[in-house]
């Protein structure tokens, strides 16, 4: 496929454009090969839908959606790519509320998020507002706890050296 190089946005150009939408975002390229944005949970859905729908950014491909337990905070990392412009960006959202962590779903923006968010719910206990079918995906309904959290304990099944 021929990619029109002029449509490719540098990280600097991306940062300038995205800041003009939502000024409160934090940007960093430290310790990562991509441009990273940290977004406040209340701005998540607005940012994501603009990243997808804006013709200059056009991030139409959500290629990875991961839950992470940073110890104090729980969060989700979204890896986005544009199939037309071929630029890549990483969006992170975090919360310190470990009892009831909740973010807005992006499954109405990218269909693939429906399954990926269910996986995150299953293993991290992170809930997603407006998700069409939020329930356990791999584990059984009566499973206690969320195994990929750092404070999860299972003395029988986990072998720690």
């Amino acid at each position: 496929m021929k990619v029109n190089k002029t449509d490719f946005m540098t990280n600097e150009a991306l940062q300038n454009l995205i800041t003009s939408w939502i000024p409160e975002l934090e940007f960093t390229e430290e310790g990562s090969q991509f441009l990273n944005i940290t977004v406040q949970p209340e701005h998540l859905h607005q940012l994501m839908s603009q990243l997808k729908s804006n013709s200059e950014t056009n991030f139409d491909y959500l290629f990875c959606l991961s839950g992470i337990d940073w110890g104090k905070e729980l969060g989700v990392v979204y890896h986005l790519e544009s199939t037309t412009h071929r630029h890549i960006i990483v969006v992170k959202v975090k919360t310190e509320d470990r009892d009831n962590p909740t973010f807005d779903t992006v499954s109405n923006i990218w269909l693939t998020a429906e399954f990926h968010e269910r996986e995150v719910f299953d293993f991290f206990g992170i809930k997603f507002n407006n998700h069409p079918n939020l329930k356990r995906l791999f584990l059984t309904e009566d499973w206690e706890g969320f195994p990929l959290r750092k404070d999860y304990v299972d003395e029988i099944n986990m072998i720690i050296k």
């Binding site: 990875c64 337990d69 890896h79």
Partner: protein, 373 residues
């Protein structure tokens, strides 16, 4: 003839039926909960987790060398490429200069892996739609590749040939000749695949116009590999983010625009020709040199995040490593192609007949351990 029954307004109602987890066409322990009305599918809901081993959690306690071996057990038909993905992540993070010899050998074996996976898929695809002969044809040719792997890597399926820094050992002296012999053999056999199955009228009637996925939906569902390319979506990681020696070879990205079951089928068959072409370009030009570079016995990645994509036989595999600078990763996420490809199954089969589900699912080429990581 009594037509009163046919003309009376017969009421139909939806009911549930289980497909799997021990169903031959689900290719592993996948359970589908089907909602059907007569023969028409109303909903397909996958129920996963029957063989989930939580590889991502295991990675958090293992060293980087150990993680490589866990990835074999995800998509076991692309084991070499899975290993390569982890090794590339580690090598890029450490900024290791990998010898050209390693890159070329990795690419050759990667493409052999792709052919082996596609021949197996082709055999099983035929079997799923009732053509048992294809199974034996596919396994006959795949066996020759497994013999090559056995000689060079020491294993036929879960090869563990890649290590961070290079390869476990150098190629076997017979490797080049055997690969060339295989290519010569397979070039005469691959046309048989087309005459036996692709050109078969019954097969075409069962697959053409069935299970249609549009390009827009393919991107939104995160489809990759032949599933995406069957819908005209250019998603070949080997083209867009080349790794190892793939930037040195020329090959076509097979695209078809129909988006139906037959298109996904044909993409895989045509891809085998391209993989052979890649191997032919490299097999006579394996550079001399070391087959690995030394790494520390204990590998510690610098603090930060690392992402690597590769194209397995099923599509885009992503390895996302978060490191805090210790000998174990803080978090590893495997973005597996099968997981995203399975998520669109409901979308493309609803409204179709239950008999078409098996054919459609066969062209998604699902390997369940890849989904239940």
């Amino acid at each position: 003839m009594d037509t009163s029954i046919a003309n009376s307004n017969l009421k139909s109602e939806e009911y549930f039926i289980n497909m799997g987890p021990q169903h031959p066409a689900t290719h592993g322990v996948l359970r589908l909960l089907l909602t059907i009305d007569g023969e028409i599918i109303k909903k397909v809901e996958p129920d996963l987790g029957y063989i989930h081993r939580s590889i991502e959690k295991m990675c958090e306690r293992d060293s980087y060398q150990q993680i490589v071996h866990l990835t074999d057990r995800m998509d076991y038909l692309s084991s070499h490429i899975n290993n390569e993905a982890v090794c590339l992540t580690v090598e890029n993070a450490l900024q290791l200069e990998i010898p050209d010899r390693v890159k070329v050998i990795r690419t050759i074996i990667g493409e052999l892996t792709r052919i082996a996976s596609h021949t197996l898929w082709w055999g099983v695809m035929g079997m799923d739609v009732g053509a048992l002969t294809t199974y034996f044809y596919g396994f006959r040719d795949r066996e020759l590749i497994n013999d090559i792997f056995e000689e060079t890597c020491g294993a036929r399926l879960t090869m563990n040939y890649n290590i961070p820094g290079g390869l476990m050992f150098d190629i076997h002296p017979n490797f080049v000749k055997r690969v060339k012999d295989f290519i010569a053999h397979f070039k005469t056999k691959l046309p048989e695949y087309d005459t036996l199955l692709s050109g078969n009228v019954i097969f075409q009637k069962r697959t053409k116009g069935v299970g249609i996925l549009t390009k827009e939906d393919a991107i939104s569902f995160g489809a990759s590999g032949p599933v995406g390319r069957g819908s005209g979506y250019s998603c070949d990681v080997r083209k867009h983010h080349p790794y190892s020696a793939l930037d040195k070879v020329s090959f076509k990205e097979i695209l078809r625009t129909e988006g139906d079951t037959f298109a996904r089928y044909q993409v895989r068959v045509d891809e085998m020709w391209e993989s052979m072409s890649i191997i032919e370009q490299l097999i006579d030009n394996i550079p001399e040199g070391e087959y690995k570079v030394a790494t520390n016995a204990v590998i510690k990645l610098p603090k930060g995040e690392f992402y690597q994509k590769v194209e397995t036989a099923r599509g885009e595999l992503g390895v996302y490593v978060v490191s805090t600078g210790t000998k174990n990763p803080y978090r590893v996420k495997f973005r597996s192609p099968g997981f995203s490809n399975l998520s669109l199954l409901n979308h493309i089969t609803v409204g179709g007949k239950i008999g078409d589900l098996v054919a459609t699912m066969a062209t998604l080429d699902i390997v369940v351990p890849d989904i239940d990581r």
